[in-house]
Structure formats: structure tokens, C-alpha cells
């Protein structure tokens, strides 16, 4: 093999990298295998499709949060953005009588605005993202309740239900949507320069800035992605029940965080894969499903999910952030850097 081939083709250590990035996939497969063997009701097509369908919208929301975490930030406003999109969408359609597609455009635009506010507060206001988005979460929640007085708005057109519960053949539409969104986002993150810049900014903000990356733009964009994808997920959740509801996302933030981290995204930023998020969502859903099938009290789910999050974050925090050394090379340490 010539020099250029060896040095420009991925070769040694591919499996090691694969294992590091996709250990969660292997765990998911093992989990599915165990459940299929021991739980008769689990291995029905119906149940599998159900798991996929239930995981899909949470996964899309988690893909949004993925961008915030990838850039080393955190978006806490997810739950009230879900409520906002849900209640305002229903309000626009039912109360104002707007066409569904106009309402969709409007609520997604609202989500963009929330994302911009988050991003501007964090990037230009230099606020810690945890606080900035927490404040935004509460303000948006307040607005949601002011608008709806806390009551759900029902009476959305039946056709809209397809988004949440429709089927294409035997595959639920949400599942197709999830994979489609994941595919688009994969192309964005892996094959476009803004996408790669998310990784660069999360990995080393200063170095990215000094490489002439527009770090402010990327920083804001991450929060916009987060809010818009949350909006898309929220529309799907609303479509399932055909009613707008302010409390729709109240329990979801925790799941979303767990999924993102489970999917191999580093809480310190700069590392993660979009399909990891999909797998993380499926993993969490399979565990929930298995616990239901075993008729374990649903409150245990909170305990189990909490335990999972702790374990995963423990692993993330205690893994050295360096990657494999190429074969046959010993790391060279220079005296003045030791």
C-alpha cells in the first residue's frame, strides 16, 4: 500500500472507534434479544412497531437537544417549547380557523424565535446556558398558561392525526419521519461545514474562533435547531391526541437529556452522533416497554431511568477525552508540556 493510501484511508483502529461510538447499539441489540427471548408479548410485530412509534417524537426532540449539548451547552427550555407549540398550534387552528399548514409554519416560526432568544442570551449575553434557558422555560410556560388558562384545546381536524398515528404499509408514519429527520441531520452534521463547525465549537471554542469559524453564528444556530426540532416533535405529540395541551412536555426534559447522553454525546461538548440519539431513544423505550410487559409499577421507570442517566454520565465524566493512538506509535510527551 502506498503512502498516500495508508495515510488517507481509514484503516487501523476502525473497530476500536466503532466500539467506542456504538457501544450503545450493541447494548440495545442485547437488550432486544433478551426481551425477545424472555417476553412473549415483546416479540410481536405490533409491539415492536409500537415501541418505534412511541420513541419517534421523543427522538426528534432529543435530536434538537443534541445540537445544544454538542456545542457544550444545554437547553432546558424544551418542555415549555413543547407546550407552546402544542397549545398555540391548536389555538391557531381551532380558535382562529387557520389552515393547518399555516399554523404549522407559524408555530415553528415561534420556536425559531425562542431558539434565537436562547442563543442570543447565551452567546452574546454570555449567560450560562443552564440559567438562560431555565428562565426562558419559565417565561414561555407563563405565556402558555396566559394564552390557554391551562385548559387543553381540542377539536383538531381528523386528518392531522396521520402525523401522529398514521401508517405507511405496516410502518407507522412517525417512524419514517424520525428516520428521515435523522438522515437529513446526519448529512448536515457529517457533510456540511456548519455541521462540522458544531463539533469544532464544542471541542474547542477558542481554537475554532481563531480558525475563522463564525462561532457566534454556530452557537446561536445550535439553539435554533434545538427549538425547531422540539417544535416538530411537539406537533407529532399533539397530533396523537388531536388536542393542544400546555402540559404535554412537562416530563420530557429528563428523558430527552437521558437519550442524548445515552446516545454517546459528551456533556462536555464536541463529541456525538445523530444516530446515537435515535438508538438512545429506542433503548429507553425498550426498557420502558419491557417494564410495562413485566407489569412493574410505572413509577419504577423514573427510578430506573435516573439510574441509567447516572451510570452513563459517570462513564462520560470519567473517560479520558483522548482517543486511540495509531498503532505502533507511543504517545510522545514533550518535557515542557508534561
Amino acid at each position: 500500500m502506498s503512502d498516500i493510501d495508508r495515510k488517507t484511508k481509514r484503516s487501523g483502529g476502525v473497530w476500536k472507534v466503532f466500539l467506542r461510538d456504538w457501544i450503545i447499539l450493541i447494548l440495545l441489540l442485547v437488550l432486544v434479544l433478551l426481551c425477545s427471548v424472555f417476553l412473549e408479548k415483546f416479540r410481536t410485530t405490533n409491539n415492536i412497531m409500537n415501541i418505534l412509534r412511541q420513541a419517534s417524537f421523543t427522538a426528534i426532540i432529543a435530536m434538537g437537544e443534541f445540537f445544544a449539548i454538542l456545542t457544550g451547552q444545554m437547553d432546558m427550555s424544551v418542555s415549555s417549547v413543547i407546550g407552546m407549540v402544542s397549545i398555540f398550534f391548536a389555538g391557531f387552528v381551532v380558535k382562529l380557523g387557520l389552515p393547518v399548514w399555516v399554523a404549522i409554519v407559524l408555530v415553528l416560526a415561534m420556536a425559531v424565535v425562542i431558539g434565537l432568544i436562547n442563543g442570543l442570551l447565551v452567546v452574546y449575553g454570555k449567560m450560562p446556558s443552564f440559567i438562560a434557558t431555565l428562565v426562558v422555560m419559565n417565561v414561555v410556560r407563563g405565556v402558555n398558561y396566559l394564552y390557554s388558562r391551562g385548559l387543553p384545546i381540542s377539536g383538531l381536524p381528523e386528518g392531522f392525526n396521520f402525523l401522529g398515528s398514521g401508517y405507511v404499509g405496516i410502518v407507522p408514519f412517525p417512524v419514517i419521519l424520525m428516520f428521515f429527520v435523522a438522515l437529513v441531520l446526519y448529512v448536515v452534521t457529517a457533510h456540511t461545514s456548519p455541521g462540522r463547525s458544531f463539533y469544532a465549537v464544542g471541542g474547542n471554542l477558542e481554537a475554532s474562533k481563531l480558525s475563522g469559524i463564525n462561532v457566534n453564528y454556530i452557537g446561536v444556530l445550535a439553539f435554533v435547531f434545538s427549538a425547531v426540532l422540539t417544535g416538530v416533535g411537539a406537533l407529532g405529540l399533539t397530533a396523537k391526541t388531536l388536542a393542544g395541551n400546555v402540559t404535554l412536555g412537562d416530563d420530557l426534559l429528563f428523558d430527552v437529556m437521558t437519550i442524548v447522553v445515552l446516545g454517546g454525546t459528551s456533556l462536555m461538548g464536541g463529541r456525538g452522533r445523530i444516530f446515537g440519539v435515535v438508538i438512545g431513544a429506542l433503548f429507553l423505550q425498550v426498557i420502558g416497554n419491557a417494564m410495562v410487559l413485566l407489569s412493574i409499577n410505572t413509577y419504577w421507570q423514573w427510578v430506573v431511568k435516573g439510574a441509567i442517566l447516572i451510570i452513563v454520565v459517570l462513564i462520560d465524566s470519567n473517560t479520558k477525552r483522548d482517543v486511540i493512538t495509531a498503532k505502533g506509535k507511543t504517545p510522545h510527551k514533550h518535557p515542557e508540556e508534561g
Binding site: K7, H191, T192, S193, A200, L210, G212, R321, E337
Partner: protein
Amino acid sequence: MTSGTRVDGGVRGENAPLIQLKNCRMEFPGVVALDDVSFTLLPGECHGLVGENGAGKSTLSKCIIGENHMTEGELYVEGKKIRIHSYSVKDSQRLGIQAVHQEFQLMNDMTGLENIFIGHYQTRYGMINWRALGRKAAELMDFLQCEVNLNVPVKYLRTAEKQIVQLAKAVLSESKVLILDELTAVLQEKDILNIYRIIGILKKRGMGVIYISHRLNEIFECCDSYTVLCDGRQMNSGRVTDIDKPKLIKMIIGRELTQAFPPINEVFGDTMLEVRGLSAQKAFRDISFSVRSGEVIGLAGLLGAGKTELVHAIFGNHRTVAGTIHIKGKETRIKNPQQAKKLGIGLIPDERRTLGLNMLFDIKDNTVLPSMEKFRKFKFFQDHAAEAKAAFEINERLELSYYSLWQNVKNLSGGNQQKIIIAKWMLRNSEIILLDEHTRGIDVGAKFEIYKLINEFTKQGKCVVLVSPELEELMGLCNRIYIMFEGSIMDVVEGERRTQEVIIHSLLGVS
């Protein structure tokens, strides 16, 4: 007595040396940092340690405080032989050796009082007895004959006052040996005199002081003896009264300028970069200079002279308050690094690991990071194959030693990491290259390769602005050297005047 010490040999008694280092040899993988260095510090003595950057001064002091372990040699503290292999910073502190650095090791939001006594709190009924501590601090300040307000958070103190708090802290822990590492580099004349006075007081108390400084005048003003290091070897030691400054300078330089530098390019084109009256708050003021195509200019100056801020300002990463920047004769406002990048400016920053590279990225991604838009398919998608090919070509040209482009940059040596940062801007074909302490912490071989590259740049008609603490490097590479002192350009040295003596004089602010 600590586990690491045992009594034997060495001189003991009233006038026993506080520290005696015999035939110290210190090796890092591939580099000999210290070679056969002996060193003695007597009680009541201030011993100046001088030498160029990288001569081994810091390494020597680190051996004494136990941060580095010497490979060969013997160390005696007050006549007691130290078992060097188990010797640690904790041991040295217990033996009364304290180091004070120019970088502050203070808790900024705590008061001076808290800072001084942290870890040595006196308690009464389980509570900190602030009144007793206050009295003790007052005594301490009395002893040092200083007045510093110890009741406000130290962040409100002046730099010089912070230094005194640091000194007070070191004195309090009843240390016998004090290592002052470039303590005065950021201080002004008046405050330096105060430090001299304090050193005098400490000497009278029988303490030994190891004084590391770049400012040679200081050696004559406050030291009793000196040791000159050059490339890890001990050039000379003796009493300060026996030498004068020119002699000392010759000893520091140690040799004639070696032929390590490629010939300086003398063919110039048009002016590429011109800075007129550039000022930034606190960092620098009224800076004017220009660089022609094919030219290398150097910026020399002590720490805090504003060099780094200046190059960052040109790169749009430091806010300026006045002045203009002209690129190829056109006045330009550079607001951020993106703009600078588009104007053909490239910055190689001084902190490789924190400012230069993304440690999570592989070689290829780091190399193409500033020029991603050059490798697009259909205006939107990144062409990974083209990126890899370009990164390969550029890194081969730089003779980077690597296994694969997909290798993480973290485990590369300093010199190789630096090459990747240079490759970033070569790939963009940047015409104005700003190099900020590009040879910090890399070995001689890699240094020389980078010198060759700089030479190559000039032949291609690019221009280079070079910031370096090493005079030899500046003199070997630059057509012209601007000397900065406390934020302004003090002197411009070129042609005949380009000698080390002239530069050192200007560096220290004496004309």
C-alpha cells in the same frame, strides 16, 4: 523528618548551605534539560539564576522543589541528603522551600488575610479566630514594612500588592528558601525596589532566596551570587561583585549565533500590512509598523509588553480603540477572525493546545478547519476525499510525522502539532502570517524545520510577523525587530544595530 530524607554527608552546622545540588542531570525523553549543574545556596544569600528561555532555569528550580525528578545527582537540604526519587513538592514544602511565581496563586475573591492564612487557620472553639489572625498579619506586614489592605478581596489589589500578599504567605509558612520565579516581570520600577527591600529583610533573617529573572539589572541590584545556565549547562557561577553586565551578557549568550538559521530573504515587494497608531485599552498604544511582501518582522518584549494582544488585534480578536490597519494599501476594519481569514491573514497562536488545535479532532479535520468552504460539492456538501487529499499533500510538504490523517492530534509531539497549525494557514494560502511564540516548548530539530518554512514563506512573497521571547530567533529570522515595552514600541532595530546587547537594553526599557 520526612520519609524522603536521611542524615548523612553534606556540610552541617551554623553556616551550612541551605541547598546544595551536586552534578544534577535532568533528562526528558529525547532532551537533556540539565547537564552536570551544581548549585549552592547559603543562608542569607540571594542567588540569581540567569539564562535564556529554555536554558533550564525553571527546570532547575522545579528539581529543587521536587516537581521534576532529576535523573542523576545529589540534593542536600540543610545538609540532609534527599532521596531524589521519592522527593515531592509536599516534601519540599515541609522542608521550608517555597516558590512564588509571577502567575498568581491567590484566590481572587478572598481577602488578603484569608489568602495568607489559608490552610493555616487558627481556631478557637472550632471557629476561625479572625482577631488573632488579623494581629498576626499586622505583625507580618510590620516585619515586611509594607502596607497592604488585607481586608478587601485580592482582585481589587494592584499587581504589586498581590505580589506582596504572595510573599507574605510564603514567609508565614516559616520557609527557609524562597524561589522567586520572574516575580518582577510584570512590575514597575518603584514596586521592584520594594521587592528588593523585602528580599533584604528576608536575607537578614537568614533565609536564602533563589532569584530568577530576565532583567539583568536586577541581578546586580539585589543578588549576592549568580549562576548562568545555557542550554542546560552551567556556564559560570560566582559572586556578583566579581563581574559586570557586559560579561554577564556574554555568558548568557554563551556562543556566537549558530548557523542554525536559513539566510534572511532580502527581496521585498509591496507593503502587505501596515498598522498606523493602533491602540487597545490597557494592552498597547500608538503602535505603527509595516511589513512588505517577502519580509519578516519581529516583535520583541517582556511578558506584559502587549505583543500577543497586538497580533490578536490584527487578527480581529482583540478590540482596538484607535488606529487603522491597512492590507495591501487599503484601509480595512477587521472586526473578527472570519474577516481576517478572508483578507489572507493567518494566526498561529501561542497556546497550541488551547488556542491552536481541537484536541477531539483528527489531523485532517484540524488541518482543513479554516478552509472548509474550499472543499464543497454542489456548494453545500463537504468533499471528504478532496479534504483528505489536500491535507495529505500539505502535511507531507511539512514533513509531518504521522501514521494516518485520522489519527487524533492529541498524541502528537509539540513540534508536529505546531506544524498542523501552520498547515491550516498554508492550506488557505494565507499571505500574512502572524506567529505568536511559535517555538514554545518544541525541540531544536522541529524549530529548525519551522525556520525553514518561514524562509520559504518569504520566498513566496508572503510576509511574516513574528513574536518570540528568544532574541536569537528574532535576530536569526527577522529583517527588522520592533521592541515593545509596556505597550509601546520603544525601538526599531535593523541592519547593523541588530545585536543582542542593543535589544536587551531596549527590552528592559533603558535606552
